[in-house]
Symmetry: C2
DNA sequence: GGGCAACTGTACCATAGGTGCAGTGTGGGG
DNA sequence: CCCCACACTGCACCTATGGTACAGTTGCCC
């Protein structure tokens, strides 16, 4: 649940002000929170007026909705990239998952000094600022991670019986927890290595649990 | 980094309005975020005027500072309770730590439907709402957890060589991550079992890593 | 009965989100 | 060449919230 870097491709045509608003908003929201990111700040950064902002977005919640959708789509795409690549590198589900986790940790290590943060998690601690729809989208994000990783884990468990009796759903959630917990640690302590380190601990746990 | 229930002892004298403001503020901040918790709401709940509020607190950041201090103190006290009790129940550092983690998970299971949340983590995603002092206190909270659990882990590692080469500091942080990640999951999905489940996964990891 | 803690009341200010609406410039299709 | 729609601008105005300033009041303790 972290913003990975954009593929540098695409984007020939000049970016619209709408796109630039979303881009800037995402950056600022992850840096300092949704409440502290003012509309005035956004329009000043992009160079339009308040009326211009409200032409594109019904209100601030509408912006949040678009931000969340963008984030979830991009996020899913990037996880596909990583774990499909991992599947190419090894046939075995356990080996491939471990490779994917390593790739994931490495990517977080590279990219994390830019703007660490997870939009879906950001919602959770600023509940009432967002309407029910945005909160539902945040929940969907977590459920998407659960579904994806539970799938991987079930394939692994079929071939490698786990050494302890574990619930695969909460084990899938444990990666979300490690990532979001890692982000919080990294932001609170200004230690950019905290996130990749937590992902690697999750990887260790998976290894110890399933490796014969 | 979760609010545990108050020991029912103490408090003969009538609670001051100041105390009631802090109590209510903590509840509301964990429920809906700091930005969404208005001063008007707090004074209405306690039954005083705005002037009364500003008599007690210089500004909203001052309230945040007091809230954080209260939280950190209470939190440290409760962890002491749990892990001292665990040490009483078993001499061996590994066995005792595993008992402590179980007690912790059980407590989170019991109490978590009341008001899940960690004030220290709440700060991280609402950065600019707080001044540098509050942010520093949040960081201190994470460092206190790191120090405490790193201590336990070092004693364990002395007696039981870990099965993998792990960094004990980030392994200590992994409990913070599991707890804060668990809280986020639990809040986002409205699944109160998510937090205790994540603590138990951390416990599993410790078991697999150190148990002979 | 003097003093201090713990307020109340009133007035006032700035910032931010938000609404409503009329007007404008510019590029592409008919 | 004209017209329309898109992407805005400008202006007026409203509300909520945090915050300041300060004078006055109440109740309890010494």
């Amino acid at each position: 649940m972290v913003q990975l870097p954009m593929t540098v491709a695409a984007k020939q045509k000049p970016v619209s002000n709408r796109e630039r608003l979303l881009e800037l908003a995402e950056q600022l929201v992850l840096q300092k929170g949704f409440a502290s990111t003012s509309i005035e700040e956004l329009i000043a950064g992009v160079g339009i007026t308040k009326s211009g902002f409200f032409y594109h977005f019904k209100d601030k919640n509408d912006l949040a909705r678009e931000l969340m959708q963008r984030y979830l789509d991009e996020n899913a795409r990037q996880l596909d990239d990583i774990f499909n690549r991992a599947a190419e590198l090894h046939d075995d589900p356990l080996a491939s998952f471990l490779i994917g986790l390593k790739l994931f940790a490495e990517l977080m290590d590279k990219v994390h000094d830019v703007h660490p943060g997870c939009i879906a998690a950001a919602v959770v601690y600023q509940d009432q600022l967002f309407d029910a729809e945005v909160r539902a989208m945040s929940a969907e994000g977590f459920l998407a991670w659960r579904k994806r990783f539970r799938g991987y884990l079930e394939e692994i468990a079929k071939r490698y019986p786990p050494k302890m009796d574990v619930d695969l759903q909460s084990l899938a959630d444990a990666l979300s927890a490690a990532v979001d917990g890692g982000i919080i640690l990294s932001k609170a302590l200004h230690e950019r290595t905290a996130l990749p380190a937590q992902i690697m601990h999750y990887r260790n746990y998976i290894k110890l649990l399933f490796e014969p």
